[in-house]
């Protein structure tokens, strides 16, 4: 039995330690917004945050995750899709099929946390998730728009940025 802190809730999971976190999240916890795309950390569909860091959960074994680690999935990113990235995605109709978008959004959110005003080059380097529908142009525009939303949000955010 392992304890996992996912989206602020502590959950007990009973499965072998070599099980990838992706499948623990999907099959043991039942949160299916985190997607399986390749199983070898190539596509990014399974992206989650662990202690604020972007991780491709398909290659993170359960045994490597501590009970104190804070895992955030797409379902826990914000209340009612209020995160600036989700809002920007909505404004620009970024998704097509949508399957990769949980991962794209988690990657964009992680980027903006570290770099609230990313340049195109920063976005090129950080956003390496695969999208077969080809939403890349809107993903880029979405990151820029989210950055703008962040900048115009509460001063508390700017403080965080300065601290970072």
């Amino acid at each position: 039995m392992a304890k996992l802190n996912i989206n602020g809730k502590v959950r007990d999971v009973s499965v072998e330690g070599d099980t990838p976190l992706l499948w623990v999240i999907r099959e043991q916890v039942g949160l299916t917004g985190t997607k399986y795309g390749c199983g070898i950390a190539q596509c990014g569909s399974c992206s989650v945050h662990i202690n604020g860091e972007l991780r491709r959960s398909c290659t993170v074994p359960l045994a490597s995750v501590k009970a104190t680690d804070k895992i955030v999935t797409i379902e826990g990113l914000s209340v009612k899709s209020s995160h600036p990235v989700q809002q920007a995605w909505l404004d620009l109709d970024v998704p097509q099929c949508g399957y990769c978008q949980s991962g794209q959004i988690m990657a964009a959110a992680a980027l903006l946390k570290k770099n609230p005003q990313p340049s195109d080059k920063d976005i090129d380097e950080a956003m390496t998730n695969i999208c077969r529908c080809g939403t890349y142009q809107r993903v880029r525009a979405g990151v820029h728009l989210a950055a703008k939303k962040l900048a115009s949000a509460a001063p508390a955010n700017r403080k965080t940025k300065a601290q970072a």
């Binding site: 499948w23 070898i40 099929c97 077969r132 529908c133 890349y136």
Partner: protein
Amino acid sequence: MKKTIKDKTTNLSRRRFIVSTAMAGSGLALGFNLPFAATAATKRAAAPGTEVNAWVVVKPDNSCQIRIARSEMGQGTETGLAQLIAEELECGWSNVTTEFVTPGQNLARKRVWGEMGTGGSRGIRTSEDYVRRGAAAARMMLLQAAADQWQVPVSELTVADGVITHAASKRKTTYGKVAGAASKLTPPDAKSIKLKDPRDWKIAGKSMKRLDTAQKLDGSLVYAIDLQLPGMLHAAIKQAPVFGSKLVSFDEAKIASMPGVKRAVKVNDGAVAVVADTWWHAKKALDALPIVWNEEENGTRSTATIAAQMLDGINAPSAYAFRNEGDALKAIAAAPKKVEALYSTPFLAHATMEPMNCTVKFSGDRVEAWASTQNAEATLAALSEEAGLPLDKCEVYKHVLGGGFGRRGGNQDYTRQAAAIAKQFPGVPVKLIWSREEDMTHDFYRPISMCKMSAGLDASGNIVGLHVRVSGQSINAQVNPASIKNGADARQLQGYAKEPGDAQLGYDFPNLLIEYSMRNTHVPVGPWRGVNTNQNGVYMECFVEELARAAGKDSLEFRRAMMSKFPKHLGVLNAAAEKGNWGKPLPPGVHRGIAQFMGYGSYSAAVAEVSVSPDGKLKVHRLVLALNCGHAVNPDQIAAQVEGSVAYGLTAALYGELNVEKGRIVEDNFHTYKIMQLAEMPKVETVIVQTYDFWGGVGEPTICVVTPSVLNAIYAATGKPVRSLPLKNIKLV
């Protein structure tokens, strides 16, 4: 913003409805007794509605639930069809919710919703007429019901946003209030209805926000792969690595004690599945399962043997003549200047982000499937065949697809497999998921092909004759062999047709011979976004570029001179050239290429800007694409499809290649089958040319000009033509 959030809740509940109905084990019966009614969570969707006709259900709160028969896989057809219906219905866009119909319901109602198949970029163009008529009929019935109630002539009524007004008596009512009475009226003759002039559209033709975006932002949309049902088991599958080979044996005892494993089962002749409590357990056990395959038959085939097959078709003494106008061979032989080139394109995988999957449950004499499918009726038929049950004992619940691109249409291999597995577990829902490796090595691939182009130029640089010989694998040879007599498979020459309409060649050549040598391999093939316009567009447009250069003429002017009889082809070419600043100065090191081609009833052209560094590194900076699809139902979503076609096409051009070794596909995941990333995405600008005199497709047409425009720009940059793909194998300088 409010609107979208409202849409989110209703969309969610709509899908929950489908699932929960099915979970009750009585999807079909419930669906018919209480069509699409009330198990949903939110108030709005839960309120029982009144079906005015097959397309429209009106709720007491005046919201209108619009039925969608086609599949949604990201291409935006759900939103586009809803726009067309809302336009004629006059219900107001904020009152629209949508709902997918099932093939069982369609069948039981004598296909009242028409064709459900969603491929060939047909979703809107072949349903626009009947959905608009259906919506207009519903509007007329709703107005008539109000007129009857007020005892006034219907001609005195007006309607806007679902509110009916009789100005003279200052009375108002709503669709919600008159729907009951309207549903009892005799419908008007749909054919006699006069539809709105598209130039007067207020909802259709506008860039309305997609109805399905919100649920793709928070993980709440349930794709087929996400489905969870009580008591569900999970299956992982391994198919014979060599196409056409058979399963000999497997040693179930070796995995019987592994965690969660229920059984290993044979799936038809060429596959084994492990069924377990979770998919991860099933996959782990499957990886450990000793399996013996009979690989004799095709196990010696390779990329080299297949290339030899293609070349054999190029050199064969005769081939099927698709077009033979004048005497091209004679004209070329007599020409003062001859140009020849041999082009080739490889097998490609679809690699939808959501791998193939399907859930099936047998209950007594009934069977149900939950599937990502581009063709729900084909899924129903496959389910019925595999289950051995009549169609009316089968039902399919469609989920939004995590990508389609042609993979999930007619080829229902994954549905059949899920049914074959679940049949061995009666009463238990079994979800089959393919690993990415299975998905990539058992696709129905874009066919391999090769093309030899020969032309003669006269002293002024005009083309006097063109000979096109395509050699390649036929899709129809697999899906409909009876349609091909003596190798005459016109589909493989898509884009080269003489006839206007679907995929007409937009050039006039004085002498023309177009031939096809069918050379089929053991590798399964199928439609892949844009199908044969991809390869044929490259062959024609790259060769025309070579001819323009041989003639010493400007690429645009050279094309224009052959296009006077093709005003629509010319129209998009001019539009792309103008927006793409053809002929205007460029930054140092940046070069342009141009292309035009036709497919799916629409006309496409592109101007690409690229640079090639001194060490041969390619950068695609910008693509301007012009599309004439006749009617633009949602310009922003058309732009999204055009952007997507660039990524899909450019990925193929840059990296797409599958090799065959010992009869099997070598590349098995994204580390070897590379997909373009965001950093490589050029700036895409879309120009929509709308002539309102036809309805063309959107999802596929533009992909055919992406690669040739880029290759022609590379030619401009390096002075060397590129004749084989992918570019990763080519030394550019």
